[in-house]
């Protein structure tokens, strides 16, 4: 057996922008290769996507996460066919679909505004794609009935889309996009118009639908919590680039860049200087003169002045300041119900937040003004690229 050279392929495992992408089994449903998208001409030219490469596996719940204007929706539109890349290829199961118009791509979209056809009933909306594909009437009817059942909307099949609630419209939009059994389903911030409770419900619903249909989902959101709870893998984007691709846990626990750590969850940033390093762990001298051991991403060689990040829940308070990795004065205690935040003014001048999970037995044992120590969990401190 010969092994084909894969020099031209984007990295599936190995480095992506210097980040380790763990190898996982499965075919690639979508491969984005070196895609650039430029809007405008001449001086006014803006690169909405700046040479993006990413592989999305079959049957995966993949999320494009980033702030508005990061290019996530542009990438989705390129995959759907509403826009065409300025450069690069988009492969669907190995076939370049980038030049095809949207009606020739076996890919369907759930729009942020749902875009339900107002002059049609719920059932007609769901059957539209199948009808356009020229399926026989009996098959359309059967599939529409199945879709209605899947999204629990059987009772409202004959209603106009203006006569149903926002949450129900959302379900119809999902059913309509799933009915033609696309190879990939694209979801453009579909939950953003729903209220908090309904959004939580739909998050679970979406996971269930993805599981039951076995269709690859590409989900666009700016909501980090949504991304963390639903995704198999997340691509964090900023300014037209993908900064990190990984499972929610990897992204949260081992952010590759300062932007990722800052965008997802809360993080403490501590300034320091690298004094020594060996096999992925560096000793960093902080402003308070304390020295901490901090991990760093592979392919990154920290030296000199660096920023150390510690998640608030990866640290704990101790009453004996001398036993802490760092020490300071407890400035403020904020009670959140499920947990308590301790704001500590470190000896070196930095601010530090420790999050402590509340329990029935645990009482708030620290009072503002007290001298406290902070202990980092193993691997809790990491050095990141700015």
């Amino acid at each position: 057996m010969t092994i084909k050279p894969e020099q031209n392929l984007p990295p599936r495992a190995g480095f992506l922008n210097g980040v380790v992408v763990p190898e996982q089994p499965g075919k690639n449903a979508i491969e984005v290769r070196g895609v650039r998208k430029v809007f405008g001409t001449g001086e006014a030219q803006v690169a909405a996507l700046d040479t993006v490469s990413v592989a999305i596996r079959e049957n995966e719940f993949f999320t494009l996460l980033g702030p508005s204007g990061c290019g996530k929706t542009t990438l989705l539109r390129l995959i759907a066919g509403f826009d065409f890349p300025s450069e690069g290829e988009i492969l669907l199961y190995g076939e370049d679909i980038a030049p095809l118009p949207p009606f020739k791509r076996p890919v369907n979209t759930v729009f942020q505004s749902y875009a339900l056809f107002p002059h049609m009933t719920v059932a007609q909306n769901i059957g539209f794609g199948l009808e356009m594909l020229g399926k026989p009437k009996a098959e359309i009817q059967a599939r529409v009935a199945r879709m209605l059942k899947l999204v629990k909307m059987e009772a409202l099949a004959g209603r106009r889309t203006s006569q149903i609630s926002g949450g129900q419209q959302q379900r119809v939009a999902l059913a309509r996009a799933l009915a033609p059994q696309p190879k990939v389903l694209l979801l453009d911030e579909p939950l953003s118009a729903l209220d908090y409770k309904l959004r939580k419900e739909m998050q679970i619903e979406l996971k269930r639908l993805q599981h039951e249909t076995g269709i690859t989902f590409i989900f666009v959101t700016h909501d980090q919590e949504e991304a963390l709870t639903m995704s198999d893998r997340i691509a964090v984007m900023s300014s037209g680039k993908i900064l990190q691709v990984g499972a929610p846990r990897d992204i949260y626990d081992r952010p590759a860049e300062r932007f990722v750590a800052d965008f997802i969850g809360e993080t403490n940033f501590l300034k320091g200087t690298v004094v020594s390093k060996k096999s992925g762990v560096a000793s960093v001298k902080l402003a308070s003169d304390a020295t901490v051991a901090a991990g760093f991403p592979e392919g990154f060689d920290p030296s000199g002045a660096v920023t150390v990040v510690v998640r608030p829940e990866h640290a704990d308070l101790v009453a004996d300041a001398a036993k802490g990795t760092v020490a300071g004065i407890l400035a403020n205690v904020v009670y959140f119900g499920t947990d308590t935040h301790y704001h500590v003014k470190l000896d070196g001048g930095d601010n530090f937040i420790v999050r402590h999970q509340n329990s029935r037995s645990g009482a708030v044992a620290f009072a503002p003004g007290a001298k406290v120590g902070i202990v980092f969990e193993d691997d809790g401190a990491r050095i990141l690229r700015d």
Partner: protein, 270 residues
């Protein structure tokens, strides 16, 4: 609760009296015209009693029938042609990539709204005279249909364009996403949603064609008398309340069309 920042127009001094004056100036003459259509006497200025005699004689009047027939043929044809042209123009100007001549095209379409009608009338007359002289061509009533079509286009165009611009473009994107070719997306999504705009545009076109006088007066040949021309000819003779009856019928037709147009527009706004 009234918002203190807004001013209630009804509280402004003199509002009520000015409003009543304006309404009177606008509608009292029309009201008097309608009242005298029920006069039993034969003078439009001297009231004798209530009766429907003049409606009877109007409805039996052969000339009135011919004029009504001409008007109906011209207005219906002009409405259909201008609405089709306006629909195509509106689609061509809202659903394409912006092109260089777009603002100019928009101006050209709307030009008949701002050019004094008498100028259009004289120009149209000379145009038809020219082609009649040069090629010996005369389209008969077709001349009038053509002339009416031209000035009906901007009236039909405006509500159609407004509807197209209001329409959510994502709907068309969604249709394309669901395997509809551009033609199918237009046929199944854009066109059905455009129908209220088209209806409203057609109603407007019909009404401006229906009561056009200036252009018709200049372009119309013998035997091409329309209703407004017929009324004009009648009032040059000793007037009878028959003319009031005919005018009232015309007014009711106009009101009917404007109401239909308005109701369609209101329904789509919901």
């Amino acid at each position: 609760m009234a918002d203190p920042r807004t001013i209630d127009i009804k509280d402004q001094p003199g509002f009520r009296s000015i409003a009543i004056l304006c309404l009177c100036v606008l509608y009292v003459p029309i009201l008097i015209l309608m009242i005298f259509s029920f006069n039993t006497g034969s003078l439009v200025t001297h009231w004798e009693g209530v009766g429907f005699g003049w409606y009877g004689s109007a409805l039996l009047n052969e000339e009135f029938h011919r004029a009504a027939q001409n008007t109906l043929i011209i207005s219906t044809s002009a409405t259909i042609i201008s609405t089709i042209v306006a629909t195509l123009a509106a689609i061509g100007m809202t659903r394409v990539k912006p092109w260089r001549g777009l603002p100019a095209a928009f101006m050209v379409i709307n030009l008949p709204l701002v050019v004094p009608e008498i100028i259009t009338a004289v120009a149209t007359l000379s145009f038809f005279a020219l082609i009649a002289g040069a090629f010996g061509l005369n389209f008969g009533i077709g001349n009038l249909i053509l002339a009416h079509t031209v000035f009906c286009i901007p009236f039909a165009y405006m509500p159609i364009r407004a509807r197209l611009e209001d329409m959510d473009l994502t709907l068309e994107a969604a249709a394309a996403d669901l395997y509809a070719t551009p033609w199918h997306a237009f046929r199944r999504i854009t066109l059905p949603l455009l129908v209220p705009g088209i209806m409203s545009g057609a109603a407007l076109a019909f009404i401006v064609s229906f009561d056009d006088f200036t252009i018709t007066q200049l372009v119309a040949g013998p035997g091409q008398t329309t209703l407004p021309l017929y009324i004009w000819n009648q009032i040059r003779r000793p007037m009878t309340p028959e003319i009031n009856a005919i005018s009232t019928i015309l007014l009711l037709v106009s009101i009917l069309f404007v109401s239909v147009s308005f109701l369609i527009a209101r329904r789509r706004a919901k």
